[in-house]
């Protein structure tokens, strides 16, 4: 009776993990709203601190919007695997008869949809609040869409490395902020170029290169890091 165990296809295994994580996220909407709330708070507070001069605000808007996106992504990605580690799901993932990186990609994709994608989707609204010129709004959206893919993957890598360490938050920030810097520079430059009527395509291309590169390589690093974390 046990002669041959029908395995799910990789696509089914991926989508099963995707659905599981998305449903769990939907079950706690506060966690999902948290980064957006943080984003909107910072964007509301900055004009109060700097004064309501539209020109000054629109000059710093590209950098500000991107830095806040980076920080809020850091905030949520750092806890990506915490609950899975505590409730034993990671152990089960690690011994599942599928490649760990594929299963984790399902989980990360759900996480990105609920945080990074959502953030990118509402970012034009925040851009308008800071007086970002209309020419920059579309590029802000595209650059964040690509950038949050990188940020989420890098954050997941940090989370995988520190998941077994209590209070690993600081270590994790030290580990991954340097890796986030290129993403930040490309993204901010793309938006600034669009605002001054320059050529944002170059920077968007670089960003998508980074996103594709991390999509291909980071899952392998994440699964290796998680296996080490589970080992003790």
């Amino acid at each position: 009776m046990f002669a041959d165990i029908p395995l799910l296809s990789l696509r089914e295994a991926f989508s099963r993990q995707f659905r599981r994580h998305l449903k769990a996220l939907m079950g706690s909407p506060a966690d999902m709203a948290n980064p957006l709330l943080f984003y909107s708070m910072v964007v509301t507070l900055f004009p109060l601190g700097l004064g309501p001069d539209p020109e000054r605000l629109s000059a710093i808007a590209p950098g500000l919007l991107w830095v806040v996106a980076l920080l809020s992504s850091l905030m949520v990605s750092s806890k990506l695997f915490d609950s899975d580690y505590e409730d034993g799901s990671l152990e089960q993932l690690a011994i599942a008869p599928y490649p760990l990186s594929i299963l984790l990609m399902g989980e990360i994709a759900a996480h990105w949809l609920a945080t990074g994608f959502l953030l990118a989707a509402v970012s034009p609204l925040f851009g308008i609040m800071l007086g970002l010129p209309a020419a920059g709004l579309g590029v802000l959206f595209y650059s964040l869409m690509l950038g949050t893919i990188c940020l989420t993957l890098i954050g997941a890598m940090g989370s995988a490395l520190t998941v077994s360490i209590r209070r690993g938050g600081l270590l994790m920030s030290l580990l991954i902020i340097p890796l986030n810097v290129p993403v930040l520079i490309f993204g901010t430059t793309a938006v600034s170029e669009a605002v001054i009527g320059g050529n944002p395509q170059t920077w968007l291309t670089l960003l998508s290169g980074l996103a594709m590169g991390s999509l291909a390589l980071v899952p392998i690093a994440i699964s290796a890091a998680l296996r080490v974390s589970l080992d003790n």
């Binding site: 165990i5 089960q92 296996r227 080992d231």
Partner: protein
């Protein structure tokens, strides 16, 4: 048929060497109980058998067949219902239909709790949900860490029956427990005290 074999396995945890020289061969139809005092290394050995620990483990562990591991942590998402948890369980090897899940939960007296978030169930009921996976898997080798914890008498009897029918149909079970032998002559004990360093 051999499902698992261990050759001269040693287990270290941090700086401490817990066990060494462990030999074990698990054949189809076997029930092995790992016994020993708290902290002797039962869970560590079981995790090594599952393939979860590699760094501190030396020696040879050969898996011939797929395995199902149930640890202390139930691997259930508290905000999801029992049904959703089992539908999308990360390690499950079959695509369980909803009917299969419903009838499995029913056999564990969980009928009516299928749609409730697992976090709102009692500890024993959560344990039952975790054990439901035994019915929804085709893995021949079961590795169970303290499976009788938090179960009431009827739950223990249920698990007893499952283990017996599993081994009689060609599976094998390795479990840890502080309870005295439940399976009489069917089971063999591994007293880990023998391997303590």
């Amino acid at each position: 048929m051999q499902l698992l074999s261990l050759q001269d396995v040693a287990i270290e945890r941090g700086e401490r060497r817990l066990l060494s020289g462990v030999h074990l061969t698990v054949e189809a139809g076997d029930i092995w109980q790992l016994v020993g005092a708290n902290g002797v290394g039962k869970t560590s050995l079981l995790r090594a058998l599952a393939g979860l620990a590699q760094l501190g483990v030396s020696g040879q562990i050969v898996h011939k067949q797929a395995r199902l591991y149930l640890g202390h942590a139930p691997a259930l998402k508290k905000s999801l219902s029992a049904l959703d948890n089992l539908r999308c369980h990360p390690a499950s090897d079959i695509l369980a239909s909803d009917e299969m899940i419903f009838s499995a939960l029913e056999s564990l007296n969980l009928a009516g709790y299928e749609e409730q978030p697992v976090g709102s169930l009692s500890a024993g009921q959560q344990r039952r949900v975790a054990l439901t996976r035994l019915l929804l898997s085709q893995a021949p080798l079961w590795l169970l860490d303290e499976p009788f914890t938090a179960l009431d008498v009827s739950g223990c009897d249920w698990l007893d029956t499952q283990i017996r029918s599993h081994v009689s149909s060609g599976g094998a079970v390795v479990y840890t427990s502080h309870q005295p032998s439940r399976f009489g002559s069917l089971q063999q004990d591994v007293d880990l005290v023998r391997y303590v360093c």
